[in-house]
Amino acid sequence: MKSNSFPNSVNHEAVEAAAAAWLARQDNAQAWRQEDEQALEAWLQQHTAHRVAWLRLRQAWQRADKMQSLSHEASVAAEDSQPKPHRATYQRRPSRVFAGLTLAGVVIVASLVLWSGQNPSGQERFATAVGARQGLTLADGSRVMLNTHTRGRAVINSSERKFWLDEGEAFFEIQHDPNHPFVVTAGRDRITVLGTKFSVRHEDGRTEVTVVEGRVKLDRTDSLGQEASSPSATLTKNDSAVSQVGAVLVATKTEEQTQNALGWREGRLKFDNMSLPDIAAEFNRYNRRQLVVHGDASALKLSGQFDTSNVDGFVRLIQGGFGVAVRQEGDQIHLSMN
Protein backbone atom coordinates (compact mmCIF):
# COMPACT_ATOMS: atom_id res chain seq x y z
CA MET A 1 0.00 0.00 0.00
CA LYS A 2 1.33 3.40 -0.88
CA SER A 3 1.07 6.15 1.66
CA ASN A 4 -0.10 8.57 -0.99
CA SER A 5 -3.23 6.49 -1.31
CA PHE A 6 -4.39 8.20 1.87
CA PRO A 7 -6.21 11.41 1.17
CA ASN A 8 -5.34 14.67 2.86
CA SER A 9 -8.90 15.79 3.14
CA VAL A 10 -10.31 16.48 6.58
CA ASN A 11 -13.66 15.06 5.64
CA HIS A 12 -14.24 12.74 8.56
CA GLU A 13 -15.23 9.77 6.42
CA ALA A 14 -12.06 9.82 4.37
CA VAL A 15 -9.83 10.52 7.36
CA GLU A 16 -11.34 7.74 9.37
CA ALA A 17 -11.02 5.26 6.51
CA ALA A 18 -7.37 6.21 6.12
CA ALA A 19 -6.70 5.99 9.87
CA ALA A 20 -8.30 2.54 9.97
CA ALA A 21 -6.17 1.43 7.02
CA TRP A 22 -3.03 2.62 8.81
CA LEU A 23 -4.00 0.74 11.95
CA ALA A 24 -4.74 -2.45 10.06
CA ARG A 25 -1.39 -2.18 8.38
CA GLN A 26 0.40 -1.45 11.63
CA ASP A 27 -1.40 -4.40 13.16
CA ASN A 28 0.46 -6.64 10.73
CA ALA A 29 3.64 -6.33 12.77
CA GLN A 30 5.63 -8.75 10.65
CA ALA A 31 5.25 -6.61 7.55
CA TRP A 32 5.66 -3.23 9.29
CA ARG A 33 8.94 -1.56 8.39
CA GLN A 34 10.92 1.49 9.31
CA GLU A 35 9.74 3.35 6.21
CA ASP A 36 6.13 2.55 7.09
CA GLU A 37 6.67 4.09 10.49
CA GLN A 38 8.04 7.23 8.84
CA ALA A 39 5.18 7.39 6.37
CA LEU A 40 2.66 7.05 9.21
CA GLU A 41 4.41 9.78 11.17
CA ALA A 42 4.28 12.06 8.14
CA TRP A 43 0.57 11.38 7.69
CA LEU A 44 -0.11 12.11 11.35
CA GLN A 45 1.81 15.37 11.10
CA GLN A 46 -0.17 16.44 8.06
CA HIS A 47 -3.31 17.32 9.93
CA THR A 48 -4.51 17.08 13.51
CA ALA A 49 -7.67 15.44 12.14
CA HIS A 50 -5.50 12.53 11.06
CA ARG A 51 -3.99 12.23 14.49
CA VAL A 52 -7.21 12.37 16.48
CA ALA A 53 -8.90 9.86 14.15
CA TRP A 54 -5.94 7.52 14.47
CA LEU A 55 -5.81 7.85 18.29
CA ARG A 56 -9.53 7.25 18.51
CA LEU A 57 -9.50 4.08 16.41
CA ARG A 58 -6.31 2.82 18.00
CA GLN A 59 -7.87 3.01 21.42
CA ALA A 60 -10.94 1.07 20.28
CA TRP A 61 -8.75 -1.57 18.67
CA GLN A 62 -6.72 -1.92 21.88
CA ARG A 63 -9.85 -2.20 23.95
CA ALA A 64 -10.79 -5.18 21.84
CA ASP A 65 -7.82 -7.04 23.37
CA LYS A 66 -10.08 -7.67 26.32
CA MET A 67 -12.08 -9.98 24.11
CA GLN A 68 -9.65 -12.70 25.06
CA SER A 69 -11.87 -13.20 28.04
CA LEU A 70 -15.10 -12.84 26.08
CA SER A 71 -15.87 -16.48 26.34
CA HIS A 72 -16.38 -16.12 30.05
CA GLU A 73 -18.87 -13.34 29.50
CA ALA A 74 -21.89 -15.54 29.97
CA SER A 75 -20.68 -16.85 33.28
CA VAL A 76 -20.23 -13.45 34.84
CA ALA A 77 -23.74 -12.61 33.72
CA ALA A 78 -24.93 -15.66 35.60
CA GLU A 79 -23.21 -14.48 38.77
CA ASP A 80 -25.43 -11.42 38.65
CA SER A 81 -28.57 -13.39 39.01
CA GLN A 82 -29.91 -14.91 42.15
CA PRO A 83 -29.29 -18.58 42.66
CA LYS A 84 -31.95 -20.96 41.50
CA PRO A 85 -31.02 -24.17 43.28
CA HIS A 86 -33.53 -26.41 41.55
CA ARG A 87 -32.61 -25.72 38.00
CA ALA A 88 -29.51 -25.21 35.97
CA THR A 89 -28.15 -21.90 37.17
CA TYR A 90 -26.15 -21.23 34.12
CA GLN A 91 -26.17 -22.44 30.62
CA ARG A 92 -23.64 -21.01 28.26
CA ARG A 93 -25.38 -19.43 25.36
CA PRO A 94 -23.88 -20.66 22.13
CA SER A 95 -23.66 -17.14 20.75
CA ARG A 96 -23.59 -16.84 17.03
CA VAL A 97 -20.43 -14.84 17.56
CA PHE A 98 -18.53 -18.02 17.93
CA ALA A 99 -19.91 -19.79 14.92
CA GLY A 100 -17.13 -21.02 12.74
CA LEU A 101 -14.50 -20.44 15.33
CA THR A 102 -13.11 -23.72 16.42
CA LEU A 103 -10.40 -22.99 18.94
CA ALA A 104 -12.29 -20.51 21.10
CA GLY A 105 -14.30 -23.61 21.75
CA VAL A 106 -17.88 -23.11 22.57
CA VAL A 107 -19.64 -26.06 23.91
CA ILE A 108 -22.69 -25.77 26.01
CA VAL A 109 -21.78 -26.30 29.60
CA ALA A 110 -24.93 -27.27 31.30
CA SER A 111 -24.68 -26.82 34.97
CA LEU A 112 -26.84 -29.58 36.25
CA VAL A 113 -27.66 -29.62 39.86
CA LEU A 114 -27.80 -33.27 40.63
CA TRP A 115 -29.38 -33.00 43.97
CA SER A 116 -29.98 -30.19 46.31
CA GLY A 117 -32.18 -29.59 49.27
CA GLN A 118 -32.29 -29.56 53.01
CA ASN A 119 -32.12 -32.65 55.12
CA PRO A 120 -33.47 -32.84 58.67
CA SER A 121 -30.16 -31.78 60.25
CA GLY A 122 -30.47 -28.39 58.57
CA GLN A 123 -27.68 -29.20 56.18
CA GLU A 124 -28.05 -27.98 52.67
CA ARG A 125 -26.42 -30.17 50.06
CA PHE A 126 -24.96 -29.25 46.72
CA ALA A 127 -23.40 -31.13 43.84
CA THR A 128 -22.34 -30.55 40.27
CA ALA A 129 -21.85 -32.97 37.38
CA VAL A 130 -18.63 -33.42 35.41
CA GLY A 131 -18.07 -30.36 33.24
CA ALA A 132 -20.61 -28.27 35.14
CA ARG A 133 -20.25 -25.41 37.56
CA GLN A 134 -22.74 -23.64 39.75
CA GLY A 135 -22.96 -20.44 41.73
CA LEU A 136 -24.77 -20.36 45.08
CA THR A 137 -25.67 -17.69 47.54
CA LEU A 138 -25.78 -18.94 51.10
CA ALA A 139 -28.17 -17.73 53.78
CA ASP A 140 -25.57 -15.29 55.17
CA GLY A 141 -25.07 -13.71 51.75
CA SER A 142 -21.75 -15.46 51.15
CA ARG A 143 -21.30 -16.71 47.64
CA VAL A 144 -19.88 -20.01 46.56
CA MET A 145 -19.07 -21.22 43.09
CA LEU A 146 -18.76 -24.95 42.65
CA ASN A 147 -16.47 -26.32 39.98
CA THR A 148 -16.85 -29.54 38.01
CA HIS A 149 -17.73 -32.78 39.83
CA THR A 150 -18.04 -31.24 43.27
CA ARG A 151 -20.04 -32.16 46.36
CA GLY A 152 -20.58 -29.96 49.39
CA ARG A 153 -22.84 -29.31 52.38
CA ALA A 154 -23.58 -26.15 54.30
CA VAL A 155 -25.05 -25.20 57.65
CA ILE A 156 -25.61 -21.49 57.94
CA ASN A 157 -27.62 -20.06 60.82
CA SER A 158 -27.42 -17.34 63.43
CA SER A 159 -24.88 -19.23 65.54
CA GLU A 160 -22.58 -20.89 63.02
CA ARG A 161 -21.38 -20.84 59.43
CA LYS A 162 -20.05 -24.14 58.16
CA PHE A 163 -19.35 -25.63 54.78
CA TRP A 164 -18.05 -29.12 54.05
CA LEU A 165 -16.29 -29.59 50.75
CA ASP A 166 -16.55 -33.35 50.40
CA GLU A 167 -15.02 -33.51 46.95
CA GLY A 168 -14.01 -31.18 44.15
CA GLU A 169 -13.34 -27.48 44.09
CA ALA A 170 -15.14 -24.33 45.17
CA PHE A 171 -14.51 -20.61 45.25
CA PHE A 172 -15.79 -18.71 48.28
CA GLU A 173 -16.66 -15.05 48.72
CA ILE A 174 -17.46 -14.81 52.38
CA GLN A 175 -19.54 -12.05 53.94
CA HIS A 176 -17.60 -10.41 56.73
CA ASP A 177 -18.89 -11.33 60.19
CA PRO A 178 -16.27 -11.05 62.96
CA ASN A 179 -18.53 -12.82 65.46
CA HIS A 180 -19.17 -15.88 63.33
CA PRO A 181 -16.13 -17.34 61.61
CA PHE A 182 -16.91 -19.21 58.40
CA VAL A 183 -15.38 -22.67 58.52
CA VAL A 184 -14.75 -24.83 55.47
CA THR A 185 -13.91 -28.42 56.17
CA ALA A 186 -12.22 -30.46 53.45
CA GLY A 187 -11.40 -33.92 54.74
CA ARG A 188 -9.25 -33.28 57.77
CA ASP A 189 -8.23 -29.83 56.64
CA ARG A 190 -10.06 -26.93 58.16
CA ILE A 191 -10.11 -23.41 56.76
CA THR A 192 -11.34 -20.62 59.01
CA VAL A 193 -12.09 -17.11 57.80
CA LEU A 194 -13.96 -14.02 58.90
CA GLY A 195 -14.63 -12.52 55.49
CA THR A 196 -12.52 -13.04 52.40
CA LYS A 197 -12.19 -14.62 48.96
CA PHE A 198 -10.45 -17.92 48.46
CA SER A 199 -10.73 -21.25 46.72
CA VAL A 200 -10.44 -24.76 48.05
CA ARG A 201 -9.81 -27.89 46.05
CA HIS A 202 -10.12 -31.24 47.72
CA GLU A 203 -9.32 -34.52 46.00
CA ASP A 204 -8.00 -37.84 47.21
CA GLY A 205 -7.11 -36.53 50.65
CA ARG A 206 -5.17 -33.59 49.20
CA THR A 207 -6.38 -30.06 49.89
CA GLU A 208 -5.25 -26.96 48.07
CA VAL A 209 -6.20 -23.48 49.27
CA THR A 210 -5.65 -20.32 47.21
CA VAL A 211 -6.31 -16.91 48.73
CA VAL A 212 -7.47 -14.07 46.52
CA GLU A 213 -8.25 -11.54 49.20
CA GLY A 214 -7.96 -11.23 52.97
CA ARG A 215 -6.64 -13.78 55.40
CA VAL A 216 -7.48 -17.41 56.06
CA LYS A 217 -6.36 -19.85 58.69
CA LEU A 218 -5.60 -23.40 57.69
CA ASP A 219 -5.22 -26.24 60.15
CA ARG A 220 -5.84 -29.94 60.46
CA THR A 221 -8.26 -31.71 62.74
CA ASP A 222 -7.76 -35.14 64.24
CA SER A 223 -9.51 -38.15 62.81
CA LEU A 224 -12.63 -37.36 64.82
CA GLY A 225 -12.80 -33.84 63.42
CA GLN A 226 -11.79 -32.40 66.78
CA GLU A 227 -9.39 -29.60 67.66
CA ALA A 228 -6.24 -29.17 65.69
CA SER A 229 -3.29 -31.27 66.64
CA SER A 230 -0.74 -29.26 64.64
CA PRO A 231 -0.08 -25.52 64.50
CA SER A 232 -2.14 -23.62 61.97
CA ALA A 233 -0.90 -21.75 58.89
CA THR A 234 -2.07 -18.24 58.09
CA LEU A 235 -2.47 -17.48 54.41
CA THR A 236 -2.88 -14.07 52.81
CA LYS A 237 -3.42 -12.71 49.31
CA ASN A 238 -1.91 -14.85 46.54
CA ASP A 239 -0.77 -17.52 48.97
CA SER A 240 -1.42 -21.04 47.93
CA ALA A 241 -1.18 -23.95 50.35
CA VAL A 242 -1.20 -27.65 49.68
CA SER A 243 -2.01 -29.92 52.56
CA GLN A 244 -1.26 -33.57 52.06
CA VAL A 245 -0.61 -36.42 54.47
CA GLY A 246 -0.33 -34.05 57.36
CA ALA A 247 2.20 -31.67 55.79
CA VAL A 248 1.31 -28.18 54.66
CA LEU A 249 3.31 -26.46 51.96
CA VAL A 250 2.72 -22.73 51.45
CA ALA A 251 3.87 -20.81 48.39
CA THR A 252 3.28 -17.21 47.42
CA LYS A 253 2.14 -16.89 43.85
CA THR A 254 2.03 -13.95 41.50
CA GLU A 255 -1.29 -12.24 40.93
CA GLU A 256 -1.36 -13.79 37.48
CA GLN A 257 -0.73 -17.31 38.74
CA THR A 258 -3.54 -16.90 41.24
CA GLN A 259 -5.90 -15.69 38.57
CA ASN A 260 -4.86 -18.53 36.26
CA ALA A 261 -5.62 -21.03 38.98
CA LEU A 262 -9.10 -19.58 39.22
CA GLY A 263 -9.78 -19.43 35.49
CA TRP A 264 -12.31 -22.24 35.92
CA ARG A 265 -14.80 -19.79 37.38
CA GLU A 266 -15.15 -18.48 33.85
CA GLY A 267 -14.99 -21.93 32.33
CA ARG A 268 -11.42 -21.33 31.26
CA LEU A 269 -8.31 -23.38 31.76
CA LYS A 270 -5.28 -21.15 31.86
CA PHE A 271 -1.84 -22.64 31.93
CA ASP A 272 1.54 -21.07 31.86
CA ASN A 273 4.42 -23.33 30.86
CA MET A 274 2.61 -26.37 32.18
CA SER A 275 3.59 -29.92 31.24
CA LEU A 276 1.29 -31.85 28.94
CA PRO A 277 0.42 -34.51 31.56
CA ASP A 278 -0.63 -31.76 33.99
CA ILE A 279 -2.70 -30.05 31.32
CA ALA A 280 -4.27 -33.38 30.39
CA ALA A 281 -5.16 -33.98 34.05
CA GLU A 282 -6.86 -30.59 34.15
CA PHE A 283 -8.91 -31.22 31.01
CA ASN A 284 -9.82 -34.65 32.31
CA ARG A 285 -11.53 -33.15 35.33
CA TYR A 286 -14.05 -31.45 33.09
CA ASN A 287 -14.67 -33.98 30.38
CA ARG A 288 -15.92 -37.50 29.95
CA ARG A 289 -13.39 -38.05 27.18
CA GLN A 290 -9.97 -38.42 28.73
CA LEU A 291 -6.58 -37.40 27.46
CA VAL A 292 -3.81 -39.97 27.88
CA VAL A 293 -0.21 -38.82 27.40
CA HIS A 294 2.46 -41.26 26.22
CA GLY A 295 6.27 -41.26 26.16
CA ASP A 296 8.14 -38.17 25.02
CA ALA A 297 4.95 -36.14 24.77
CA SER A 298 5.15 -35.86 28.57
CA ALA A 299 8.09 -33.49 28.19
CA LEU A 300 6.06 -30.97 26.22
CA LYS A 301 5.34 -27.71 28.02
CA LEU A 302 2.66 -25.31 26.90
CA SER A 303 1.04 -22.00 27.73
CA GLY A 304 -2.41 -20.92 26.72
CA GLN A 305 -6.02 -20.77 27.62
CA PHE A 306 -8.96 -22.86 26.57
CA ASP A 307 -12.54 -23.50 27.43
CA THR A 308 -12.60 -26.35 29.91
CA SER A 309 -14.79 -28.29 27.47
CA ASN A 310 -12.69 -27.58 24.41
CA VAL A 311 -10.56 -30.75 24.41
CA ASP A 312 -10.91 -31.02 20.66
CA GLY A 313 -9.60 -27.52 20.07
CA PHE A 314 -6.67 -28.20 22.35
CA VAL A 315 -5.88 -31.50 20.66
CA ARG A 316 -6.04 -29.91 17.21
CA LEU A 317 -3.66 -27.20 18.35
CA ILE A 318 -0.98 -29.52 19.68
CA GLN A 319 -1.43 -31.82 16.72
CA GLY A 320 -0.92 -29.00 14.24
CA GLY A 321 1.53 -26.87 16.14
CA PHE A 322 3.63 -29.30 18.15
CA GLY A 323 3.74 -32.45 16.09
CA VAL A 324 1.81 -34.54 18.55
CA ALA A 325 0.20 -37.69 17.16
CA VAL A 326 -3.39 -38.24 18.18
CA ARG A 327 -5.22 -41.53 18.38
CA GLN A 328 -8.85 -41.65 19.46
CA GLU A 329 -10.08 -44.82 21.09
CA GLY A 330 -13.56 -44.75 22.54
CA ASP A 331 -13.54 -42.15 25.29
CA GLN A 332 -9.77 -41.96 25.31
CA ILE A 333 -7.60 -39.61 23.31
CA HIS A 334 -4.02 -40.86 23.18
CA LEU A 335 -1.25 -38.33 22.68
CA SER A 336 2.30 -39.24 21.69
CA MET A 337 5.17 -37.67 19.76
CA ASN A 338 5.32 -38.27 16.02
Binding site: A49, V52, E73
Partner: protein, 187 residues
Protein backbone atom coordinates in the same frame (compact mmCIF):
# COMPACT_ATOMS: atom_id res chain seq x y z
CA UNK B 1 2.00 13.58 26.23
CA UNK B 2 -1.00 15.20 24.53
CA UNK B 3 -1.63 11.87 22.82
CA UNK B 4 -1.91 10.09 26.17
CA UNK B 5 -4.11 12.77 27.63
CA UNK B 6 -6.36 12.68 24.58
CA UNK B 7 -6.75 8.90 24.80
CA UNK B 8 -7.20 8.72 28.54
CA UNK B 9 -9.35 11.78 29.20
CA UNK B 10 -10.95 13.09 26.03
CA UNK B 11 -12.03 9.89 24.30
CA UNK B 12 -13.96 8.57 27.34
CA UNK B 13 -16.11 11.71 27.03
CA UNK B 14 -17.28 10.71 23.58
CA UNK B 15 -20.65 9.21 24.57
CA UNK B 16 -21.44 12.34 26.60
CA UNK B 17 -20.22 14.55 23.78
CA UNK B 18 -22.38 12.75 21.23
CA UNK B 19 -25.42 13.01 23.49
CA UNK B 20 -24.83 16.74 23.73
CA UNK B 21 -24.42 17.16 19.99
CA UNK B 22 -27.50 15.08 19.27
CA UNK B 23 -29.53 17.16 21.67
CA UNK B 24 -28.51 20.41 20.03
CA UNK B 25 -28.09 19.51 16.39
CA UNK B 26 -30.85 17.93 14.43
CA UNK B 27 -28.89 16.74 11.39
CA UNK B 28 -27.44 13.40 12.41
CA UNK B 29 -25.25 13.18 9.31
CA UNK B 30 -23.28 16.23 10.49
CA UNK B 31 -22.38 14.74 13.84
CA UNK B 32 -19.24 12.73 12.97
CA UNK B 33 -17.74 15.77 11.24
CA UNK B 34 -18.57 17.93 14.22
CA UNK B 35 -17.04 15.39 16.56
CA UNK B 36 -13.87 15.39 14.52
CA UNK B 37 -13.70 19.15 14.45
CA UNK B 38 -14.13 19.35 18.21
CA UNK B 39 -11.38 16.80 18.69
CA UNK B 40 -9.07 18.76 16.41
CA UNK B 41 -9.73 21.99 18.29
CA UNK B 42 -9.30 20.29 21.66
CA UNK B 43 -6.09 18.56 20.62
CA UNK B 44 -4.54 21.63 19.05
CA UNK B 45 -5.43 23.87 21.98
CA UNK B 46 -3.90 21.40 24.43
CA UNK B 47 -0.76 21.01 22.31
CA UNK B 48 -0.41 24.80 22.09
CA UNK B 49 -1.49 25.96 25.55
CA UNK B 50 -0.94 22.94 27.72
CA UNK B 51 -3.42 20.52 29.22
CA UNK B 52 -6.58 22.07 30.69
CA UNK B 53 -7.37 21.91 34.38
CA UNK B 54 -10.69 20.23 33.75
CA UNK B 55 -10.96 18.14 30.61
CA UNK B 56 -14.78 17.82 30.66
CA UNK B 57 -15.25 21.58 31.05
CA UNK B 58 -12.76 22.20 28.27
CA UNK B 59 -14.30 19.73 25.83
CA UNK B 60 -17.76 21.00 26.67
CA UNK B 61 -16.72 24.60 25.96
CA UNK B 62 -15.24 23.56 22.60
CA UNK B 63 -18.46 21.74 21.73
CA UNK B 64 -20.57 24.69 22.74
CA UNK B 65 -18.49 27.10 20.64
CA UNK B 66 -18.67 24.82 17.66
CA UNK B 67 -22.43 24.49 17.95
CA UNK B 68 -22.81 28.26 18.15
CA UNK B 69 -20.45 28.76 15.16
CA UNK B 70 -22.31 26.26 13.10
CA UNK B 71 -25.69 27.64 13.98
CA UNK B 72 -24.57 31.13 12.97
CA UNK B 73 -23.04 29.93 9.72
CA UNK B 74 -25.92 27.72 8.73
CA UNK B 75 -28.31 29.11 6.19
CA UNK B 76 -31.32 27.64 7.80
CA UNK B 77 -31.39 27.06 11.49
CA UNK B 78 -34.55 26.08 13.18
CA UNK B 79 -35.93 28.32 15.84
CA UNK B 80 -35.57 25.56 18.41
CA UNK B 81 -31.87 25.15 17.70
CA UNK B 82 -31.16 28.78 18.42
CA UNK B 83 -33.36 28.76 21.49
CA UNK B 84 -31.66 25.61 22.68
CA UNK B 85 -28.22 27.04 22.24
CA UNK B 86 -29.16 30.20 24.08
CA UNK B 87 -30.33 28.12 26.96
CA UNK B 88 -27.28 25.94 26.92
CA UNK B 89 -25.39 26.41 30.16
CA UNK B 90 -21.87 27.76 30.24
CA UNK B 91 -20.69 24.87 32.33
CA UNK B 92 -21.10 21.21 31.53
CA UNK B 93 -24.07 19.53 33.11
CA UNK B 94 -23.81 16.64 35.50
CA UNK B 95 -24.06 14.03 32.78
CA UNK B 96 -21.08 15.39 30.86
CA UNK B 97 -18.65 12.97 32.39
CA UNK B 98 -16.28 10.33 31.10
CA UNK B 99 -17.98 7.09 30.32
CA UNK B 100 -16.11 4.37 32.09
CA UNK B 101 -17.82 1.08 32.19
CA UNK B 102 -18.22 0.10 35.78
CA UNK B 103 -16.42 -3.17 35.37
CA UNK B 104 -14.89 -5.65 33.05
CA UNK B 105 -18.10 -7.55 32.51
CA UNK B 106 -19.89 -4.52 31.11
CA UNK B 107 -16.97 -3.91 28.82
CA UNK B 108 -17.16 -7.49 27.64
CA UNK B 109 -20.87 -7.26 26.98
CA UNK B 110 -20.23 -4.19 24.94
CA UNK B 111 -17.49 -5.93 23.00
CA UNK B 112 -19.79 -8.84 22.34
CA UNK B 113 -22.42 -6.50 20.94
CA UNK B 114 -19.76 -4.84 18.81
CA UNK B 115 -18.70 -8.24 17.48
CA UNK B 116 -22.28 -9.24 16.78
CA UNK B 117 -22.61 -6.20 14.55
CA UNK B 118 -19.71 -7.17 12.29
CA UNK B 119 -20.18 -9.09 9.06
CA UNK B 120 -19.43 -12.81 9.48
CA UNK B 121 -16.12 -12.68 7.64
CA UNK B 122 -14.99 -9.57 9.45
CA UNK B 123 -16.01 -11.05 12.80
CA UNK B 124 -14.07 -14.22 12.11
CA UNK B 125 -10.92 -12.26 11.28
CA UNK B 126 -11.25 -9.96 14.29
CA UNK B 127 -11.81 -12.89 16.62
CA UNK B 128 -8.86 -14.84 15.31
CA UNK B 129 -6.74 -11.75 15.74
CA UNK B 130 -8.00 -10.65 19.13
CA UNK B 131 -9.11 -13.81 20.88
CA UNK B 132 -6.66 -16.31 19.53
CA UNK B 133 -3.90 -13.82 18.96
CA UNK B 134 -3.06 -15.10 15.48
CA UNK B 135 -1.03 -12.78 13.28
CA UNK B 136 -2.56 -11.46 10.07
CA UNK B 137 -0.39 -13.86 8.15
CA UNK B 138 -1.58 -16.83 10.22
CA UNK B 139 -5.19 -15.76 9.80
CA UNK B 140 -4.74 -15.63 6.03
CA UNK B 141 -3.31 -19.13 6.11
CA UNK B 142 -5.99 -20.47 8.43
CA UNK B 143 -8.85 -19.09 6.37
CA UNK B 144 -7.20 -19.62 3.02
CA UNK B 145 -7.52 -16.00 1.99
CA UNK B 146 -5.05 -13.36 0.86
CA UNK B 147 -3.19 -11.30 3.47
CA UNK B 148 -4.55 -8.19 1.81
CA UNK B 149 -8.06 -9.42 2.48
CA UNK B 150 -7.26 -9.93 6.15
CA UNK B 151 -5.90 -6.40 6.37
CA UNK B 152 -9.00 -5.06 4.65
CA UNK B 153 -11.30 -6.88 7.07
CA UNK B 154 -9.32 -5.50 10.00
CA UNK B 155 -9.67 -2.00 8.54
CA UNK B 156 -13.44 -2.49 8.54
CA UNK B 157 -13.40 -4.13 11.97
CA UNK B 158 -11.43 -1.30 13.58
CA UNK B 159 -14.01 1.25 12.48
CA UNK B 160 -17.03 -0.82 13.34
CA UNK B 161 -15.67 -1.59 16.81
CA UNK B 162 -14.97 2.08 17.42
CA UNK B 163 -18.53 3.00 16.43
CA UNK B 164 -20.04 0.63 18.94
CA UNK B 165 -17.51 1.16 21.70
CA UNK B 166 -17.63 4.94 21.67
CA UNK B 167 -20.74 6.25 20.08
CA UNK B 168 -23.20 4.01 21.76
CA UNK B 169 -21.28 3.43 24.94
CA UNK B 170 -23.24 2.32 27.88
CA UNK B 171 -26.51 2.35 25.99
CA UNK B 172 -25.35 -0.73 24.16
CA UNK B 173 -24.48 -2.43 27.40
CA UNK B 174 -28.00 -1.70 28.58
CA UNK B 175 -29.45 -3.13 25.37
CA UNK B 176 -27.35 -6.22 25.86
CA UNK B 177 -28.63 -6.63 29.42
CA UNK B 178 -32.19 -6.39 28.17
CA UNK B 179 -31.41 -8.99 25.56
CA UNK B 180 -29.92 -11.28 28.18
CA UNK B 181 -32.97 -10.96 30.36
CA UNK B 182 -35.31 -11.60 27.47
CA UNK B 183 -33.23 -14.62 26.54
CA UNK B 184 -33.51 -15.95 30.06
CA UNK B 185 -37.27 -15.68 30.04
CA UNK B 186 -37.44 -17.50 26.74
CA UNK B 187 -35.54 -20.50 28.03
Amino acid sequence: MVNEWFSAEVLPLEPALMRLLRRHWRYAEDLPDMRQEIYVRVYEAAARDGLPASTPAFVFACARNLLVDRARRAQVVSFETVADLEEMPEQPQADFTPERLADARQELRLLQVALDDLSPRCREVVMLRKIEGLSQKEIAKRLGIAEGTVEKQITLGVRALAETLYAQGVEVAAAWMRRMRRGERDQ
